[in-house]
Every structure is written in C-alpha cells, then in structure tokens.
C-alpha cells in the first residue's frame, strides 16, 4: 500500500493493495487523518487495485473513530475489485461513497 496526503492531511490517496500487512501503516495514516482539521475526511481509492477482508475491517474501524469525533469519512472513487467488494458488502449503506 502506498499513501499520499493532500489538502492539509484531510485527504489521503491510497494505491496498490490494501491488506492485513498494512495494518500498522494504516494506523499511522488514520492518526494523521484524524489530527487534520475539518468535518470531512476523504480516503481516495481511485488507485487502489485490491482490498481484502482485513482492509474492509480497518475501514470500518476508521469509520468508528470518525463517528466518535462526529466527522464524516468519505470513500472516494473505488474501482474494479474494490468497487465490487463495496457493492456486495453494501458499504454504501455504511459510508458516503463518491463515484
């Protein structure tokens, strides 16, 4: 997994594959995101090619953290396998997903 922060750390682009092995890196990413100012945090997934069930679990944990601080977590532009996973798991009912 590769990450790139934008917009004063309120937006991060995640690319490559997001799996269990990225859990430590993702914790750091989440900490940095939640330290940013603003009501909305955006994770851009347009370059993400693969996500496994652990990745979905980590996004759900990030959502819990966002709701604790009354902030909105937006998942942006999922493609391919990632979009199919979101569709099957009905992520659109849990997150705000930008097409």
């Amino acid at each position: 997994m590769q990450v790139q922060f934008q917009e004063n750390d309120a937006r991060v682009n995640i690319s490559g594959e997001f799996t269990f092995t990225d859990h430590a890196a993702f914790r750091d990413v989440a900490c940095r995101l939640f330290q940013a100012k603003g009501d909305t945090i955006v994770i851009d997934l347009s370059q993400l090619q693969f996500i496994d069930s652990a990745g979905l679990g980590m996004l759900l944990l990030a959502r819990d953290e966002a709701s604790k601080s009354t902030r909105k977590l937006v998942l942006s532009r999922p493609q391919g396998q990632v979009r199919r996973m979101f569709t099957v798991t009905k992520f659109d009912e849990l997150f705000t997903i930008q097409a």
Binding site: T19, F20, T21, H23, A24, R27, F50, I51, D52, S53, A54, L56, G57, M58, L60, L61, Q81, R84, M85, T87, V88, T89, K90
Partner: protein, 382 residues
Amino acid sequence: MFGFNGNASAAAVADIPKRTGLPAAGGEDADREPHQGAHVELLQSWMSLAEMQQRVIRTLVVEIQQTSGFVEKEADDLSGRFQRLALSAQQQTGRVNSLTELASCIEVDGKAVKIEEIAVLLKDTLGDVVEKILLLSKDSMSMVYALSEVNANVVNVEKCMAQLEQINSTTNMLALNARIEAERAGAAGVTFRVVADEVRELSKATHALSVTMRSELKAVTEGIATGNATLQRVATVDLSNNILAKERLEVLLGALLRRGNVLEGIVAEAVSEAGLISADVDGMITGLQFQDRARQRLEHVIDALSVIGEALEVNRQNTAGVAPELRELAPSDMAWVTGLLNRFTMSEMRSRFAAELLRGTPDAEAHREAVNDGAQGSIELF
C-alpha cells in the same frame, strides 16, 4: 318400390308397333317386311343392353355394399385410434402440467418450495454471511490493534522492572555498606547495625518479589505473543473471495430463475398446444360419424339400383313374352363394356366387373380379395 307394374309394362311393350307405326313381329304388311328384320335386330340389341345393364347394376350393388362395409370398418377403426389418441393427449397434458410444477418448485421434506423462495432464502443467508465476515474482520483488526497496544505496555513494564532491579541492587549495596560502618563503630553502631540488617532483608524480599514478577511478566509476554500470532493467522485469512462468492451466486441464481421462467413459458405453451390437439382429436372423432349418414345414403342408392334392375328384368321378360322372337339376344356391344372396364384404375375392381359383365358370373377369387382388402383396410395406390 317405385310402383312398377310388370303387366302394365308388358302391355306397353306389346303396344310398341301401334305407337311407333312399326310392323309387329310376324306382321301382315309385306311392304314393311324389309324394315321388320331391322326392328327385331334393334330391339334384340336393346334387350342385350338391358341384360348387360342388369349385370352392371348387380355388380355396382355388390361393389357399393363392399365399399360401404369397408368405409364403416375403416371409420370405426379410425375412430378407435383417435379415441386412444385423445386419451394419450389428455395424459400428455397432465404430464406437461406436472412439468410446470417441476420447473418452478422443488420438493423439500415433502413440501413444494418455489425456486423464487429458495433464491430469496439463499440471498438472505449469503447477506448474513457477508455481514458476519465484515464484523469478524473488523473485530479481528480491533483485537490486533488492542494486542499491539498491550504489547507496547508490556515492553514498558519490562523496562520498569529493570529499573526496579537496579534500585534494589543499589539498596542492597547501601545496606551492606551500612552494616560495615556499624561494625566499625562498635557499641555505638549497634542500633545502626539493626537498621542495616532490616534494610538488607527488605532488599532481599524485594529482589525475590522482582524475580517472581519477572517470571510472571515473562509468562504474560509469551501469552500475548502467542495470542497475537494466532490472531494474525486469523486476520490474515483473506475472505474477499468468500465475499465475492455472494456476487457469483447471485448471478447464478439470476440465471437459474431466468431459465425457470423460460421453461415455465415453454411448458405453458406446450399445455396450450396439448389442449388444442385434444380439441382437434375430439373434433375428428365427431367428424368420423359421417359414416352413418354415408351408409344410409348408399343403402338408398343400392335400393334405387335394385329397383331399376328389377324393372329392367320385368320389362325384358314382358317383352320376350309378347315377342318371343326377341328372346334371342343380339350379341352384346362389348365396345362400351370394354371402355367401362378400362376406366377402372383398380385392378381388383376391374377383375370383379370383368367376371360379372363378360362371363355373367362373379369372380370368386376377386370377390374374396375384395373382402380381404376391406378387412385389412388396405388401400391400393394408383
């Protein structure tokens, strides 16, 4: 039957010379004798024709009777076959109706369950499985993070333990030094020596406690490491394929449902067609009852022909009675008889007519063939 009066006919024939002005047979007028021979010959020709017509009528009557019997038997046979066909069509309709149920339902524990219901049940079950996988993944990752935190805490505790042991070692050294100094002081250092001994005992107890705590901490650390390893094995199991299996199964279920609907449509058409076939067959059975009317009509035709034949015979005999010289028949005009026979394309019918008309007696072999043909329902193709 037609009220034909044989005597009246005889009188009419006897009256021919008067009405026509022709000389009677064996007449007196010598001037008319040249014509008389021709008239006799002409009348003999008519008599021959009448005799041949009688044969034709007799043959026709037999032919019509046989044909009527043949038609009646064939119609009965066809009617029986169509009735069996109607029964088969009804049974086929029943089987096709069973197919409708098979196409839309399957039997589970003796109860018919619709495929749509199975699809909904499977979809709900798979949705539940996916939901649980998500929950499991989230909780696994939550535990991974929690154990990671605990692990960091344990490392901090180990550092504290090391500091504590260092402090205890220093305390023990201080107690030892204090004891040495107390010995040097002699009687004045007695009290100080007691305090030094107590501090040393305290240091020993602290060291023993420290050893025990380190041992316990080691067990906790190993337990956390083992739990973390186990959790990581669980959390690293990728369930994304299991999640996407729901997608594939939904596609398969959709295809199954579409196939079921198509099959149901085809079966419905088959039921409709089977119903139409049954109706047509019933109509054919009803239509085959024409043979009753046909038989009655043919009986009337036979009756009419018989009357005509009888009338010809009476007229011929009366004529012969009045004019005996006409008993001798003129040779039959075989040209028209041959022409008639040549019109028949069925060889066995031609044989029967030839036997009757040419020889004047029925052809037993041909007659037997006709009867057999009727019994077997065979048809001569020509």
